[in-house]
Protein backbone atom coordinates (compact mmCIF):
# COMPACT_ATOMS: atom_id res chain seq x y z
CA UNK A 1 0.00 0.00 0.00
CA UNK A 2 1.44 3.37 -1.05
CA UNK A 3 1.89 5.76 1.85
CA UNK A 4 3.57 8.74 0.21
CA UNK A 5 3.22 9.78 -3.40
CA UNK A 6 5.17 12.70 -4.80
CA UNK A 7 4.00 13.39 -8.33
CA UNK A 8 6.08 15.59 -10.61
CA UNK A 9 6.55 18.44 -8.12
CA UNK A 10 8.28 21.73 -8.81
CA UNK A 11 9.33 24.23 -6.15
CA UNK A 12 11.22 27.51 -5.94
CA UNK A 13 13.13 29.63 -3.45
CA UNK A 14 11.79 33.03 -4.45
CA UNK A 15 12.68 33.51 -8.10
CA UNK A 16 15.09 30.59 -8.14
CA UNK A 17 13.52 27.31 -9.18
CA UNK A 18 15.00 24.37 -7.27
CA UNK A 19 12.83 21.43 -8.29
CA UNK A 20 11.90 20.82 -11.91
CA UNK A 21 9.78 17.69 -11.60
CA UNK A 22 10.42 15.13 -8.89
CA UNK A 23 8.36 11.97 -8.52
CA UNK A 24 8.71 9.23 -5.95
CA UNK A 25 6.61 6.95 -3.82
CA UNK A 26 7.10 5.18 -0.52
CA UNK A 27 5.08 2.11 0.40
CA UNK A 28 4.13 1.07 3.91
CA UNK A 29 7.09 -0.67 5.59
CA UNK A 30 9.48 0.35 2.82
CA UNK A 31 12.76 2.27 3.04
CA UNK A 32 13.42 4.66 0.17
CA UNK A 33 16.85 6.20 -0.37
CA UNK A 34 16.81 9.68 -1.89
CA UNK A 35 20.23 10.32 -3.36
CA UNK A 36 22.13 12.83 -5.40
CA UNK A 37 25.15 15.09 -5.28
CA UNK A 38 25.15 18.25 -3.20
CA UNK A 39 22.65 20.89 -4.27
CA UNK A 40 20.59 18.57 -6.46
CA UNK A 41 17.32 19.13 -4.57
CA UNK A 42 17.18 16.34 -1.98
CA UNK A 43 16.54 18.56 1.05
CA UNK A 44 14.25 20.77 -1.02
CA UNK A 45 12.18 17.70 -1.89
CA UNK A 46 11.97 16.85 1.82
CA UNK A 47 10.91 20.41 2.63
CA UNK A 48 8.14 20.33 0.06
CA UNK A 49 6.88 16.98 1.37
CA UNK A 50 6.73 18.48 4.87
CA UNK A 51 5.16 21.69 3.50
CA UNK A 52 8.03 23.79 4.77
CA UNK A 53 8.34 24.99 1.19
CA UNK A 54 5.29 25.40 -1.06
CA UNK A 55 4.88 23.18 -4.09
CA UNK A 56 4.42 25.31 -7.19
CA UNK A 57 3.08 22.47 -9.31
CA UNK A 58 2.57 18.74 -8.98
CA UNK A 59 1.11 16.89 -6.05
CA UNK A 60 2.15 15.41 -2.70
CA UNK A 61 -0.26 12.81 -1.27
CA UNK A 62 -0.15 10.93 2.02
CA UNK A 63 -2.32 7.81 2.04
CA UNK A 64 -4.15 9.26 -0.94
CA UNK A 65 -4.81 12.61 0.77
CA UNK A 66 -3.61 15.61 -1.22
CA UNK A 67 -1.45 17.76 1.09
CA UNK A 68 -1.79 20.90 -1.07
CA UNK A 69 -3.84 22.83 1.49
CA UNK A 70 -2.48 21.16 4.61
CA UNK A 71 -0.16 23.34 6.77
CA UNK A 72 3.17 21.89 7.83
CA UNK A 73 2.20 21.16 11.45
CA UNK A 74 -0.81 19.21 10.22
CA UNK A 75 1.37 17.22 7.82
CA UNK A 76 3.33 16.15 10.89
CA UNK A 77 0.08 15.28 12.67
CA UNK A 78 -0.99 13.19 9.70
CA UNK A 79 2.07 11.05 10.31
CA UNK A 80 5.16 12.54 8.69
CA UNK A 81 8.05 12.70 11.15
CA UNK A 82 11.02 14.77 10.03
CA UNK A 83 14.59 14.56 11.27
CA UNK A 84 15.87 17.76 9.72
CA UNK A 85 19.28 18.33 8.22
CA UNK A 86 21.77 19.63 10.78
CA UNK A 87 19.98 17.87 13.69
CA UNK A 88 18.35 21.00 15.08
CA UNK A 89 17.22 19.96 18.53
CA UNK A 90 15.53 22.43 20.86
CA UNK A 91 18.81 23.69 22.29
CA UNK A 92 17.61 25.20 25.56
CA UNK A 93 15.56 22.15 26.54
CA UNK A 94 16.93 19.02 28.15
CA UNK A 95 16.88 15.64 26.40
CA UNK A 96 13.71 14.53 28.14
CA UNK A 97 12.07 17.92 27.56
CA UNK A 98 12.82 17.68 23.83
CA UNK A 99 11.00 14.35 23.79
CA UNK A 100 8.05 15.51 25.93
CA UNK A 101 7.55 18.65 23.82
CA UNK A 102 7.05 16.52 20.70
CA UNK A 103 5.11 13.64 22.26
CA UNK A 104 1.89 12.44 20.68
CA UNK A 105 -0.08 9.38 21.75
CA UNK A 106 0.96 6.08 20.20
CA UNK A 107 3.52 3.30 20.19
CA UNK A 108 6.56 5.52 20.72
CA UNK A 109 7.17 6.91 24.19
CA UNK A 110 10.22 7.93 26.22
CA UNK A 111 10.95 4.36 27.28
CA UNK A 112 10.93 3.05 23.71
CA UNK A 113 13.15 5.88 22.49
CA UNK A 114 15.54 5.14 25.37
CA UNK A 115 15.54 1.48 24.34
CA UNK A 116 16.47 2.45 20.78
CA UNK A 117 19.11 4.94 21.93
CA UNK A 118 20.32 3.97 25.44
CA UNK A 119 22.73 6.92 25.38
CA UNK A 120 19.77 9.32 25.54
CA UNK A 121 18.57 7.91 28.84
CA UNK A 122 22.08 8.47 30.26
CA UNK A 123 21.85 12.12 29.16
CA UNK A 124 18.19 12.46 30.19
CA UNK A 125 18.45 15.74 32.10
CA UNK A 126 21.31 17.22 30.13
CA UNK A 127 20.73 20.26 27.92
CA UNK A 128 20.38 19.31 24.24
CA UNK A 129 22.95 21.98 23.38
CA UNK A 130 25.57 20.18 25.46
CA UNK A 131 25.21 16.85 23.62
CA UNK A 132 27.71 15.58 21.08
CA UNK A 133 26.74 15.69 17.41
CA UNK A 134 25.84 12.00 17.40
CA UNK A 135 23.75 12.29 20.53
CA UNK A 136 21.95 15.30 19.09
CA UNK A 137 21.18 13.23 16.00
CA UNK A 138 19.82 10.43 18.17
CA UNK A 139 17.71 12.98 20.01
CA UNK A 140 16.44 14.43 16.72
CA UNK A 141 15.41 10.92 15.61
CA UNK A 142 13.88 10.21 19.03
CA UNK A 143 11.96 13.46 18.92
CA UNK A 144 10.57 12.61 15.47
CA UNK A 145 9.60 9.14 16.70
CA UNK A 146 7.76 10.67 19.68
CA UNK A 147 5.30 12.16 17.17
CA UNK A 148 4.45 8.53 16.28
CA UNK A 149 4.89 8.95 12.53
CA UNK A 150 3.80 6.59 9.79
CA UNK A 151 6.59 7.93 7.59
CA UNK A 152 9.97 8.90 9.05
CA UNK A 153 12.12 11.21 6.97
CA UNK A 154 15.83 11.34 7.77
CA UNK A 155 17.56 14.22 6.03
CA UNK A 156 21.35 13.72 6.03
CA UNK A 157 21.09 11.97 9.39
CA UNK A 158 24.69 10.75 9.47
CA UNK A 159 26.43 13.74 7.92
CA UNK A 160 29.47 14.90 9.84
CA UNK A 161 29.32 12.12 12.43
CA UNK A 162 32.12 9.85 13.59
CA UNK A 163 32.13 6.35 12.00
CA UNK A 164 31.10 4.60 15.23
CA UNK A 165 28.19 6.96 15.76
CA UNK A 166 27.14 6.55 12.14
CA UNK A 167 27.06 2.80 12.71
CA UNK A 168 24.74 3.32 15.68
CA UNK A 169 22.40 5.50 13.64
CA UNK A 170 22.28 3.00 10.76
CA UNK A 171 21.71 0.16 13.21
CA UNK A 172 18.77 2.09 14.65
CA UNK A 173 17.32 2.68 11.17
CA UNK A 174 17.67 -1.05 10.40
CA UNK A 175 15.99 -1.89 13.71
CA UNK A 176 13.12 0.49 12.96
CA UNK A 177 12.60 -1.16 9.60
CA UNK A 178 12.87 -4.68 10.99
CA UNK A 179 10.81 -4.31 14.14
CA UNK A 180 8.26 -1.63 13.42
CA UNK A 181 7.65 -1.84 9.70
CA UNK A 182 7.73 1.93 9.57
CA UNK A 183 8.04 3.60 6.16
CA UNK A 184 11.31 5.53 6.00
CA UNK A 185 12.65 8.04 3.49
CA UNK A 186 16.41 8.46 3.90
CA UNK A 187 18.42 11.24 2.35
CA UNK A 188 22.07 10.27 2.55
CA UNK A 189 25.25 9.83 0.58
CA UNK A 190 26.49 6.61 2.22
CA UNK A 191 25.87 4.13 -0.56
CA UNK A 192 27.14 1.12 1.36
CA UNK A 193 24.89 1.68 4.39
CA UNK A 194 21.93 2.64 2.24
CA UNK A 195 22.40 -0.58 0.34
CA UNK A 196 21.87 -2.51 3.57
CA UNK A 197 18.61 -0.84 4.63
CA UNK A 198 16.94 0.67 1.55
CA UNK A 199 14.49 -1.24 -0.62
CA UNK A 200 14.54 1.23 -3.47
CA UNK A 201 16.20 4.47 -4.49
CA UNK A 202 15.55 7.69 -6.33
CA UNK A 203 18.43 9.79 -7.65
CA UNK A 204 18.06 13.51 -8.21
CA UNK A 205 20.10 15.64 -10.52
CA UNK A 206 19.59 19.39 -10.93
CA UNK A 207 16.14 19.22 -9.34
CA UNK A 208 14.85 16.27 -11.38
CA UNK A 209 14.58 12.58 -10.67
CA UNK A 210 16.92 10.92 -13.16
CA UNK A 211 16.89 7.36 -11.90
CA UNK A 212 14.57 5.28 -9.75
CA UNK A 213 14.34 1.62 -9.04
CA UNK A 214 15.18 -1.18 -6.65
CA UNK A 215 18.26 -0.56 -4.52
CA UNK A 216 19.66 -3.86 -5.74
CA UNK A 217 19.45 -2.59 -9.31
CA UNK A 218 21.71 0.37 -8.56
CA UNK A 219 24.88 -0.54 -10.43
CA UNK A 220 28.28 1.09 -10.83
CA UNK A 221 27.34 2.76 -14.10
CA UNK A 222 24.45 4.59 -12.47
CA UNK A 223 26.38 5.58 -9.36
CA UNK A 224 29.35 6.77 -11.41
CA UNK A 225 27.10 8.77 -13.69
CA UNK A 226 24.92 10.44 -11.06
CA UNK A 227 26.63 10.14 -7.70
CA UNK A 228 30.35 10.16 -8.52
CA UNK A 229 32.48 13.16 -7.68
Amino acid sequence: MTLLTVDNITASYGATQALFGVSLSVDQGEVLALMGRNGMGKSTTVKTICKLLPVTSGMVCLSGQDLARVPSHKVARLGVGLVPEGRRCFASLSVIENLIAAARPGHWDEARVAELFPRLSERRDQSAASLSGGEQQMLAIGRALMTNPRLLILDEATEGLAPLVRQEIWAAVAKLKRETGMAILVVDKSLRELGQVADKAVILQRGEDVWSGAMAALNDDVTNQFLGV
Binding site: P71, S72, H73, P84, A91, S92, A101
Partner: protein
Protein backbone atom coordinates in the same frame (compact mmCIF):
# COMPACT_ATOMS: atom_id res chain seq x y z
CA UNK B 1 25.99 23.45 43.96
CA UNK B 2 24.18 23.50 40.63
CA UNK B 3 22.82 26.67 39.09
CA UNK B 4 19.28 25.36 39.33
CA UNK B 5 19.65 24.79 43.05
CA UNK B 6 21.03 28.27 43.49
CA UNK B 7 18.08 29.78 41.68
CA UNK B 8 15.64 27.69 43.68
CA UNK B 9 17.32 28.79 46.90
CA UNK B 10 17.18 32.38 45.75
CA UNK B 11 13.48 32.01 44.96
CA UNK B 12 12.81 30.50 48.37
CA UNK B 13 14.69 33.36 50.03
CA UNK B 14 12.59 35.80 48.03
CA UNK B 15 9.39 34.12 49.19
CA UNK B 16 10.64 34.22 52.78
CA UNK B 17 11.33 37.94 52.36
CA UNK B 18 7.84 38.50 51.02
CA UNK B 19 6.44 36.84 54.15
CA UNK B 20 8.82 38.30 56.74
CA UNK B 21 8.89 41.94 55.58
CA UNK B 22 5.12 42.56 55.91
CA UNK B 23 5.08 40.55 59.15
CA UNK B 24 7.77 42.86 60.52
CA UNK B 25 5.80 45.89 59.29
CA UNK B 26 2.66 44.54 60.95
CA UNK B 27 4.42 43.92 64.26
CA UNK B 28 6.17 47.32 64.07
CA UNK B 29 2.83 48.95 63.22
CA UNK B 30 4.01 50.28 59.86
CA UNK B 31 0.91 49.93 57.67
CA UNK B 32 2.48 52.03 54.91
CA UNK B 33 5.24 49.43 54.54
CA UNK B 34 2.61 46.72 54.21
CA UNK B 35 0.94 48.78 51.49
CA UNK B 36 4.27 49.11 49.69
CA UNK B 37 4.77 45.35 49.90
CA UNK B 38 1.23 44.82 48.61
CA UNK B 39 1.94 47.09 45.65
CA UNK B 40 5.15 45.18 44.91
CA UNK B 41 3.33 41.85 45.05
CA UNK B 42 0.55 43.05 42.72
CA UNK B 43 2.99 44.54 40.22
CA UNK B 44 4.98 41.31 40.43
CA UNK B 45 1.81 39.44 39.50
CA UNK B 46 1.38 41.69 36.44
CA UNK B 47 5.01 40.95 35.55
CA UNK B 48 4.53 37.20 36.00
CA UNK B 49 1.69 37.48 33.50
CA UNK B 50 3.81 39.30 30.93
CA UNK B 51 6.77 36.99 31.61
CA UNK B 52 4.68 34.04 30.40
CA UNK B 53 4.39 35.69 26.97
CA UNK B 54 7.75 37.48 26.93
CA UNK B 55 10.00 35.06 28.76
CA UNK B 56 8.60 31.71 27.75
CA UNK B 57 7.07 32.65 24.41
CA UNK B 58 9.45 35.40 23.29
CA UNK B 59 6.49 37.72 22.62
CA UNK B 60 7.62 41.28 23.26
CA UNK B 61 4.27 42.86 24.04
CA UNK B 62 4.18 46.60 24.66
CA UNK B 63 0.42 46.46 25.15
CA UNK B 64 -0.01 44.48 28.34
CA UNK B 65 -1.29 47.62 30.06
CA UNK B 66 -4.47 46.93 28.06
CA UNK B 67 -5.11 43.86 30.21
CA UNK B 68 -3.92 45.54 33.39
CA UNK B 69 -6.35 48.38 32.70
CA UNK B 70 -9.19 46.05 31.76
CA UNK B 71 -8.77 44.23 35.06
CA UNK B 72 -8.75 47.57 36.85
CA UNK B 73 -11.84 48.83 35.06
CA UNK B 74 -13.63 45.50 35.64
CA UNK B 75 -13.17 46.19 39.35
CA UNK B 76 -13.99 49.91 39.02
CA UNK B 77 -17.18 49.42 37.01
CA UNK B 78 -18.55 46.59 39.14
CA UNK B 79 -17.71 48.31 42.44
CA UNK B 80 -18.93 51.77 41.39
CA UNK B 81 -22.32 50.36 40.40
CA UNK B 82 -22.51 48.44 43.66
CA UNK B 83 -21.70 51.52 45.73
CA UNK B 84 -24.26 53.64 43.84
CA UNK B 85 -26.88 50.84 43.92
CA UNK B 86 -27.43 51.22 40.18
CA UNK B 87 -27.42 48.21 37.87
CA UNK B 88 -24.84 48.00 35.10
CA UNK B 89 -27.43 46.70 32.67
CA UNK B 90 -31.23 46.69 32.90
CA UNK B 91 -32.33 45.27 29.56
CA UNK B 92 -32.60 42.58 28.32
CA UNK B 93 -31.58 41.32 31.76
CA UNK B 94 -30.35 42.97 34.91
CA UNK B 95 -26.66 42.93 35.78
CA UNK B 96 -25.88 44.39 39.19
CA UNK B 97 -22.55 45.69 40.42
CA UNK B 98 -20.70 43.81 43.14
CA UNK B 99 -18.24 44.39 45.95
CA UNK B 100 -17.19 40.74 46.05
CA UNK B 101 -13.52 40.27 45.20
CA UNK B 102 -13.87 36.71 43.84
CA UNK B 103 -16.63 37.82 41.44
CA UNK B 104 -14.58 40.87 40.41
CA UNK B 105 -11.47 38.72 39.86
CA UNK B 106 -13.44 36.31 37.71
CA UNK B 107 -14.83 39.20 35.66
CA UNK B 108 -11.34 40.72 35.32
CA UNK B 109 -9.84 37.39 34.25
CA UNK B 110 -12.58 36.69 31.70
CA UNK B 111 -12.66 40.20 30.23
CA UNK B 112 -8.89 40.53 29.96
CA UNK B 113 -8.66 36.96 28.64
CA UNK B 114 -11.19 37.67 25.89
CA UNK B 115 -9.37 40.90 25.01
CA UNK B 116 -6.04 39.07 24.94
CA UNK B 117 -7.55 36.39 22.71
CA UNK B 118 -8.81 39.00 20.24
CA UNK B 119 -5.68 41.17 20.35
CA UNK B 120 -3.42 38.11 20.19
CA UNK B 121 -5.35 36.58 17.28
CA UNK B 122 -4.55 39.67 15.21
CA UNK B 123 -1.15 40.62 16.62
CA UNK B 124 0.37 37.14 16.41
CA UNK B 125 0.00 37.20 12.63
CA UNK B 126 2.93 39.60 12.78
CA UNK B 127 6.32 39.25 14.44
CA UNK B 128 9.30 41.28 15.61
CA UNK B 129 8.92 45.03 15.61
CA UNK B 130 5.48 44.81 13.99
CA UNK B 131 4.23 42.71 16.89
CA UNK B 132 5.58 45.27 19.35
CA UNK B 133 3.89 48.09 17.47
CA UNK B 134 0.53 46.39 17.04
CA UNK B 135 0.30 45.46 20.73
CA UNK B 136 1.28 49.03 21.63
CA UNK B 137 -1.45 50.30 19.29
CA UNK B 138 -4.12 48.13 20.94
CA UNK B 139 -3.05 49.33 24.39
CA UNK B 140 -3.21 52.95 23.31
CA UNK B 141 -6.62 52.42 21.70
CA UNK B 142 -8.00 51.27 25.03
CA UNK B 143 -6.20 54.13 26.79
CA UNK B 144 -7.91 56.73 24.61
CA UNK B 145 -11.20 54.87 24.87
CA UNK B 146 -11.01 55.07 28.67
CA UNK B 147 -10.20 58.79 28.49
CA UNK B 148 -13.25 59.41 26.34
CA UNK B 149 -15.64 57.32 28.45
CA UNK B 150 -17.34 59.88 30.72
CA UNK B 151 -19.70 57.34 32.29
CA UNK B 152 -16.70 55.95 34.19
CA UNK B 153 -14.80 59.10 34.95
CA UNK B 154 -13.09 59.75 31.63
CA UNK B 155 -9.65 61.25 32.14
CA UNK B 156 -10.27 61.75 35.88
CA UNK B 157 -10.77 58.08 36.56
CA UNK B 158 -13.09 56.43 39.01
CA UNK B 159 -12.89 56.35 42.81
CA UNK B 160 -14.18 53.50 44.93
CA UNK B 161 -14.82 54.53 48.50
CA UNK B 162 -14.55 51.19 50.30
CA UNK B 163 -12.29 48.30 49.38
CA UNK B 164 -14.11 45.27 48.03
CA UNK B 165 -14.78 42.32 50.29
CA UNK B 166 -13.41 38.81 50.49
CA UNK B 167 -15.44 36.16 52.39
CA UNK B 168 -14.15 35.71 55.94
CA UNK B 169 -11.51 38.47 55.76
CA UNK B 170 -11.33 42.16 56.60
CA UNK B 171 -9.80 43.54 53.41
CA UNK B 172 -9.46 47.02 54.95
CA UNK B 173 -6.80 45.59 57.25
CA UNK B 174 -3.56 46.06 55.25
CA UNK B 175 -2.01 42.78 56.40
CA UNK B 176 -5.09 40.78 55.46
CA UNK B 177 -5.28 42.40 52.04
CA UNK B 178 -1.57 41.71 51.64
CA UNK B 179 -2.24 38.08 52.54
CA UNK B 180 -4.82 37.84 49.77
CA UNK B 181 -2.49 39.34 47.16
CA UNK B 182 0.48 37.25 48.29
CA UNK B 183 -1.63 34.07 48.13
CA UNK B 184 -2.81 34.93 44.62
CA UNK B 185 0.80 35.58 43.54
CA UNK B 186 1.96 32.30 45.07
CA UNK B 187 -0.77 30.31 43.33
CA UNK B 188 0.01 31.96 39.99
CA UNK B 189 3.75 31.32 40.44
CA UNK B 190 3.08 27.64 41.15
CA UNK B 191 0.82 27.40 38.10
CA UNK B 192 3.41 29.15 35.91
CA UNK B 193 6.19 26.86 37.17
CA UNK B 194 4.09 23.81 36.32
CA UNK B 195 3.06 25.29 32.99
CA UNK B 196 6.70 25.92 32.00
CA UNK B 197 7.51 22.22 32.51
CA UNK B 198 4.32 20.92 30.87
CA UNK B 199 4.35 19.77 27.21
CA UNK B 200 2.64 23.08 26.37
CA UNK B 201 5.31 25.15 28.12
CA UNK B 202 8.15 23.14 26.63
CA UNK B 203 6.70 23.48 23.14
CA UNK B 204 6.22 27.22 23.69
CA UNK B 205 9.82 27.51 24.80
CA UNK B 206 10.90 25.53 21.74
CA UNK B 207 8.77 27.71 19.44
CA UNK B 208 10.54 30.77 20.81
CA UNK B 209 13.81 29.30 19.56
CA UNK B 210 12.50 28.25 16.17
CA UNK B 211 8.94 28.00 14.97
CA UNK B 212 9.77 25.77 11.99
CA UNK B 213 11.16 22.97 14.14
CA UNK B 214 8.04 23.01 16.28
CA UNK B 215 5.88 22.72 13.19
CA UNK B 216 7.75 19.60 12.13
CA UNK B 217 6.62 17.86 15.32
CA UNK B 218 2.98 18.67 14.62
CA UNK B 219 2.47 21.78 16.70
CA UNK B 220 1.13 25.09 15.41
CA UNK B 221 3.31 27.88 16.86
CA UNK B 222 0.49 30.38 16.25
CA UNK B 223 -1.95 28.46 18.44
CA UNK B 224 0.69 27.90 21.12
CA UNK B 225 1.47 31.60 21.26
CA UNK B 226 -2.17 32.59 21.21
CA UNK B 227 -2.90 30.41 24.24
CA UNK B 228 0.17 31.79 26.02
CA UNK B 229 -0.75 35.38 25.17
CA UNK B 230 -4.32 34.82 26.43
CA UNK B 231 -3.16 33.24 29.70
CA UNK B 232 -0.65 36.05 30.08
CA UNK B 233 -3.38 38.66 29.58
CA UNK B 234 -5.62 36.92 32.14
CA UNK B 235 -2.93 37.03 34.83
CA UNK B 236 -2.12 40.67 34.09
CA UNK B 237 -5.85 41.47 34.19
CA UNK B 238 -6.15 39.86 37.61
CA UNK B 239 -3.23 42.01 38.77
CA UNK B 240 -5.05 45.06 37.42
CA UNK B 241 -8.14 44.26 39.49
CA UNK B 242 -6.02 43.88 42.65
CA UNK B 243 -4.10 47.08 41.87
CA UNK B 244 -7.35 49.01 41.49
CA UNK B 245 -8.55 47.54 44.78
CA UNK B 246 -5.33 48.53 46.50
CA UNK B 247 -5.68 52.15 45.38
CA UNK B 248 -9.48 52.12 45.38
CA UNK B 249 -9.12 54.07 42.18
CA UNK B 250 -8.90 53.34 38.48
CA UNK B 251 -7.82 55.73 35.76
CA UNK B 252 -6.81 55.56 32.08
CA UNK B 253 -3.16 55.63 33.24
CA UNK B 254 -3.51 51.90 33.88
CA UNK B 255 -3.87 51.48 30.10
CA UNK B 256 -0.94 53.71 29.17
CA UNK B 257 2.15 52.52 27.32
CA UNK B 258 4.24 53.68 30.29
CA UNK B 259 2.50 51.04 32.38
CA UNK B 260 3.32 48.40 29.75
CA UNK B 261 6.92 49.60 29.80
CA UNK B 262 7.13 49.46 33.59
CA UNK B 263 5.85 45.88 33.67
CA UNK B 264 8.49 44.96 31.11
CA UNK B 265 11.16 46.76 33.16
CA UNK B 266 10.34 44.55 36.19
CA UNK B 267 11.03 41.48 34.10
CA UNK B 268 14.27 42.80 32.60
CA UNK B 269 15.60 43.88 36.01
CA UNK B 270 14.71 40.58 37.67
CA UNK B 271 15.56 38.29 34.75
CA UNK B 272 13.65 37.47 31.58
CA UNK B 273 12.12 33.96 31.61
CA UNK B 274 13.06 33.50 35.27
CA UNK B 275 10.06 32.46 37.35
CA UNK B 276 10.87 35.02 40.05
CA UNK B 277 12.30 37.63 37.67
CA UNK B 278 9.23 39.89 37.77
CA UNK B 279 8.97 39.48 41.55
CA UNK B 280 12.53 40.67 42.08
CA UNK B 281 12.06 43.44 39.51
CA UNK B 282 8.84 44.71 41.11
CA UNK B 283 10.39 44.68 44.60
CA UNK B 284 13.41 46.66 43.36
CA UNK B 285 11.15 49.07 41.48
CA UNK B 286 8.99 49.77 44.53
CA UNK B 287 12.03 50.03 46.80
CA UNK B 288 13.67 52.56 44.45
CA UNK B 289 10.43 54.48 44.12
CA UNK B 290 10.14 54.67 47.90
CA UNK B 291 13.79 55.33 48.73
CA UNK B 292 14.70 57.65 45.86
CA UNK B 293 11.27 59.16 45.27
CA UNK B 294 11.66 61.06 48.54
CA UNK B 295 14.97 62.54 47.36
CA UNK B 296 13.98 63.57 43.88
CA UNK B 297 10.98 63.69 41.59
CA UNK B 298 13.29 62.46 38.87
CA UNK B 299 14.07 59.11 40.53
CA UNK B 300 13.32 57.34 37.25
CA UNK B 301 16.77 58.53 36.13
CA UNK B 302 18.32 56.15 38.66
CA UNK B 303 15.98 53.39 37.52
CA UNK B 304 17.13 54.08 33.97
CA UNK B 305 20.78 53.81 35.00
CA UNK B 306 20.07 50.51 36.76
CA UNK B 307 18.28 49.23 33.67
CA UNK B 308 21.20 50.26 31.48
CA UNK B 309 23.69 48.50 33.74
CA UNK B 310 21.62 45.34 33.76
CA UNK B 311 21.11 45.29 30.00
CA UNK B 312 24.80 45.99 29.37
CA UNK B 313 26.47 43.90 32.05
CA UNK B 314 23.92 41.49 33.55
CA UNK B 315 21.76 40.14 30.74
CA UNK B 316 20.21 37.56 33.01
CA UNK B 317 18.95 40.29 35.32
CA UNK B 318 19.46 40.17 39.07
CA UNK B 319 18.59 36.46 39.26
CA UNK B 320 20.86 35.60 36.35
CA UNK B 321 23.73 37.42 38.04
CA UNK B 322 23.20 35.93 41.48
CA UNK B 323 21.99 32.46 40.65
CA UNK B 324 23.71 31.58 37.41
CA UNK B 325 23.33 32.64 33.82
CA UNK B 326 22.23 29.45 32.15
CA UNK B 327 19.18 30.71 30.37
CA UNK B 328 18.29 30.97 26.70
CA UNK B 329 17.62 34.68 27.06
CA UNK B 330 20.80 35.62 28.86
Amino acid sequence: MTQMTRETLFNLAMMAGLILFPLWAWIADEPFMITLATKAVILALAGVGLNLALGLGGLVSLGHAAFFGLGGYAMGILASHAQSYSPILETPFVIEGTKSMPVIWLTAIISSGLAALAIGALSLRTSGVYFIMITLAFGQMLYFFAISWPAYGGEDGLSIYVRNGFPGLNTLDPIQFYGICFTVLTIVLILCARLAKSPFGLALNAARQTAERVETVGISPYKLRLVAFTLSGMITGLAGALFADLNRFVSPTMFSWQTSGEIMVFIIIGGVARLFGPVVGAVIFIALEHLLGGLSDYWHIYLGILLLLIVLFARGGVIGTLAGKENAHD
